[in-house]
Amino acid sequence: MIPNPATSFQSDDPSVAVPATRRVEQILFTTDRRDTRPVIMSFDDSSGSRAILTTSDTPDALDTAAVAAILAGEALPEAGRRPPEEPHYEHHLTLLLMPEIDPDATQIPSSALQWAATNGRPGRENLVLIAIHGATIAWAPGRAVLMAHPSRIESVRLALLDFCFYEAELRSIEDAVSLGWPNLKRDAPLAFEFDDRSVGRRSELSTRFQRVVALRCRASQIMPHLNRPAIHPPTLASQIGERFRERSRLESRGDFVSDQLEIQERVYEQCGQRASDYMIARKENLLCWMVVVLLGAELVLLLVGLLASTGV
């Protein structure tokens, strides 16, 4: 049974408690255990990932300036983001928290929505907006705006972080799988035939196979969290998690990426098999050639001896 962090997590660290005023948080999802910054939540995940608040030391004045900048529609410096070449277990989230006491005020300012929707990745402006029981959340990969009553905002934030982490994990796997297709196209012929010229590519193929296996492992680890069943009785946090998973199609995407990884894994597995068979055959071939050469040498000696003794 996979526990639902959105219902069970409460941060023990007072330094990460949600403030009563609007603020921007830079959150890092990382597996790095050496990072001593305040941990917002830990994930029930074999990689040991944690959500770390990276802007906890930010003076309030700066924080206020960041909120003002977002609401004014200005650009906010983004936390460092890695290019998606390799699968990695480190993701960033910039979260704008807007505690709202007035229960009728459920509209997130359009400038904040626009900021969340423009996450710096062209073609990825897939903003998901959810309003439920007085809490309004706008999310796009890497950015989110959360507006809720101060008494609920922490549990909603944790549910949001839980979703963001697994979504980011899935997205990084999807990116890595997409990047693998051109290589796969080049390597696919080697799954059928391996020759002498391909011998030099064995380490390359091995690396790619290992990478695909690592991605597959990671995908299989996060799949239970993507297909998490609805809990009963529902809570605000659990409903938010379910809605986000549904709206961002995590389950289907997880299935698709698993299928794609299976294809890549199958090709590289066959490449590995072909390479291994070829190397074994090559060793046998070498042995055969050695025997042939030695027999040839013996034959020449015998022939010359015979010719010399018979002909001269």
């Binding site: 090559r282 071939n285 070498l286 050639w289 050695m290 050469v293 030695l294 040498a297 020449v300 000696l301 022939l303 010359v304 001896g305 010719l307 010399a308 018979t310 002909g311 001269v312």
Partner: protein
């Protein structure tokens, strides 16, 4: 793609060969043997490098040609077929050459053309072998050769300074294997070594002047072996068996001679490639000369024999003697040397003109027939 390093070395080997053949066929013979103490004979010793360098480069060129064909997308079978056709063509040309130049009684003297043809066919088979097999075969051949020469009584075929055989299957087969002018054992070592080291030399980037490559190391070891056994040769009593291993002799090719010439060929090619071969399209006048001589090496080989051997035979017959009466005594060495220089000059002009006018030499016709 043509490499200046290969063209230069092949041109040097051809010039050396022309000089050697003119001088040795028209005047005196300096044996390639360190036991000859005359200063002129010692000065003549480098002449022994012509054939080894040329045959070594045959293996190198064949490897590059195979790579070129593979890159072009030709199948292994097509490459083998073309190789065998070229080999058979060279063997056939070799026999025709022997009959026409050396007269019918020397048809089976197993000269360099028949050797290169046989070598091509062998290499076309051996190219499928794992890389370690070629050095292994070379070492076995190197080790077996003195034994084969001893078993077959090599000196008995060379009592008059040329390969004197009976027209029997035994002598013809022995000539091909180990007692002819260029028998498979041990001469196959050279093209085989060229074939094996070509990727080591030509896969690297040119202009690596200071780096020490594997061919240089192997070549250095072979030269050291050569020098070592030569020193041992001078310090020990000389027996005929010992001479087969450690004497400096081309006929029969001794172990020291093979190691020395092979080592030097490897080092020269590697260094020349490192220093001379560039990606620049510009070609110097020296490069043009080397390229022309290298490109038409087969035609030059046939032509230079025809030019100096046929008049020699004709002169003998016109004098009422045997055709070969004036062989090695037609003129003084200096005159033969001058004729060789004149031939090289005229030959160069001829082939430059042929290149300019698009006329094919013997190589061109073989390529036209075999590819």
């Amino acid at each position: 793609m043509r490499f200046l390093s290969i063209d230069l070395l092949r041109a040097a080997a051809i010039i050396l060969m022309i000089v050697v053949h003119f001088v040795e066929n028209l005047s005196l013979l300096f044996a390639n043997d360190l036991s000859v103490s005359q200063p002129a004979a010692i000065a003549w010793l480098p002449s022994g490098f012509a054939a080894p360098i040329f045959t070594f480069l045959t293996g190198v060129s064949y490897r590059l040609w195979v790579h070129h064909r593979e890159d072009r997308g030709d199948t292994a079978l097509a490459i083998t077929k073309a190789s065998v056709r070229r080999g058979l063509m060279l063997i056939g040309l070799g026999f025709v050459f022997n009959v026409l130049i050396w007269l019918p009684e020397d048809t089976f003297n197993w000269d360099i053309l028949t050797f290169i043809g046989s070598g091509l066919i062998l290499l076309s088979i051996m190219r499928h072998a794992p890389p370690v097999i070629l050095p292994m075969v070379s070492c076995i051949v190197l080790a077996l050769t003195p034994a084969l020469q001893s078993i077959s009584d090599y000196p008995s075929y060379w009592q008059e300074g040329f390969f004197n055989y009976d027209l029997t299957l035994f002598d013809i087969a022995l000539g091909f294997l180990c007692v002819g002018y260029f028998p498979i054992c041990p001469w196959i070592i050279l093209p085989m070594a060229g074939f094996a080291v070509a990727p080591l030399i030509f896969s690297g980037t040119p202009h690596r002047r200071l780096s020490v490559s594997i061919p240089v190391i192997v070549g250095g070891i072979l030269l050291a072996v050569c020098v070592g056994v030569l020193l041992a040769y001078f310090g020990t009593p000389r027996s005929s068996a010992w001479q087969l291993i450690s004497g400096w002799s081309m006929l029969p090719p001794s172990t020291a001679y093979l190691c020395g010439t092979l080592g030097l060929s490897m080092i020269l090619l590697d260094r020349c490639h490192a220093i001379l071969d560039t990606t620049s399209q510009e070609i110097t006048p020296l490069g043009i000369v080397c390229r022309t001589l290298s490109k038409h090496s087969l035609s030059i080989y046939v032509l230079h024999h025809a030019v100096h051997i046929w008049p020699l035979w004709a002169y003998g017959l016109l004098s009422g003697e045997e055709a070969s009466h004036f062989w090695q005594k037609a003129m003084p060495a200096s005159a033969a040397l001058s004729l060789a220089a004149l031939f090289i000059f005229l030959c160069l002009r001829l082939f430059l003109w042929m290149d300019r006018t698009g006329r094919l030499g013997i190589e061109g016709w073989i390529r036209w027939l075999c590819d």
